[in-house]
């Protein structure tokens, strides 16, 4: 007979993680009222990521479970990152590409030649 693979995690761990999440919520709200320029979004996302990992590892049991579930979870995040990064490269740099592409046309085409 197979070993029963179900871990019964003590209830106090759930409560401790819940308290940790509430404290991090308080921290992120407090930090948002301080003007740190571009670091505000970085810190907010960093804290949100820690909270999300706490939820995934402890509430969703990834910490104790077979690693295949973690691989699926990490896979979704990997492809989301690719999606976000490549899209932002496009939308953020489109303008300069148009300018560069139009440079030879601007210098050659008669319509752009000033009289």
């Amino acid at each position: 007979m197979k070993e029963h693979s179900v871990h019964i995690i003590p209830a106090k761990i759930y409560i401790a993680v819940g308290l940790g999440l509430l404290i991090l919520t308080a921290v992120t709200v407090a930090v948002s009222f301080v003007d740190l320029g571009p670091y505000n979004i970085t810190i907010a996302l960093f804290i949100a990521s820690i909270k999300a990992l706490l939820v995934a590892f402890f509430f969703m049991h990834l910490f104790w479970d077979n690693k295949i579930y973690f691989i699926i979870f990490a896979g979704s995040l990997l492809f989301l990152t690719i999606f976000l990064t490549l899209t932002m490269f496009d939308t953020e740099t489109r303008g300069s590409i148009y300018e560069e592409k139009s440079a030879p046309i601007r210098s050659e085409a008669p319509i752009y030649q000033s009289k």
Binding site: V29, L45, F59, D65, L84
Partner: protein, 215 residues
């Protein structure tokens, strides 16, 4: 030896044993959660693009959201995640009544979340802080503030639908728990609904700072 477990009443005939059945359910559930992350992912990417294009407008428009209500909703949803986890924990120990109690608490917290969301929405509808062409509010400086509200309503609306569906799913397992269908040996549906509920919480963990706390 294995006959005792493999022919337990809750094991479907196409599974070798209870553990394989549970692992299969969990694998399927995680694959579903993957599609959910990618579904919301599209909206997060849209958020990224429009915020990068209109940083000032996002900052001005986010002030129309109530940080206090957002914070309370975050606390409510985190607490509901704890009660959900505790309901599964109780079932692992065969404490059926405690499971029922915690599932009811989770339902109540989900309801509180939606009630607060309802007040936020109705306030915005009154002021005309609405998506796209329905936007009629004039108090936000900067160009295209309606884009912020398009994204706000799309993201929180889809999340709200997930909360509603989560409540349906929790009610379903609550009913089955009341009918004594679960025990310490078999509680997979509660666990799967729990995973779903935690994911809904996780998405809100990102929505809250991105929409309410633009610094």
């Amino acid at each position: 030896m294995s006959d005792a477990t493999s022919h337990a009443t809750h094991v479907q005939h196409h599974f070798a044993d209870a553990e394989q059945q549970r692992d299969s359910a969990k694998l399927g559930m995680w694959l579903f959660l993957l599609t959910e992350i990618l579904l919301f992912g599209g909206l997060f990417v849209a958020y990224g693009i429009f915020r990068a294009w209109n940083p000032e407008m996002f900052f001005n428009a986010h002030k129309a959201l109530d940080v206090n209500l957002g914070t309370v909703n975050t606390i409510v949803l985190i607490t509901s995640s704890v009660t959900m986890a505790l309901s599964i924990h109780a079932m692992q120990l065969n404490k059926r009544r405690i499971t029922i109690l915690f599932l009811l608490m989770t339902l109540v917290f989900a309801g509180v979340f939606l009630v607060i969301k309802y007040f936020e929405y109705s306030h915005k509808i009154e002021l005309g802080q609405l998506p796209g062409k329905f936007y009629t509010f004039t108090g936000i400086p900067g160009s295209n503030p309606h884009i912020f509200f398009s994204i706000y309503f799309a993201m929180t609306g889809l999340h709200g639908l997930h909360v509603i569906f989560g409540m349906v799913a929790i009610s379903w397992i609550l009913r089955r728990t009341l009918k004594r269908e679960f025990s310490a040996e078999y509680y997979t549906p509660i666990e799967m609904v729990g995973l779903y509920w935690h994911l809904v919480d996780m998405i809100w963990i990102f929505l809250f700072p991105l929409l309410y706390l633009i610094g």
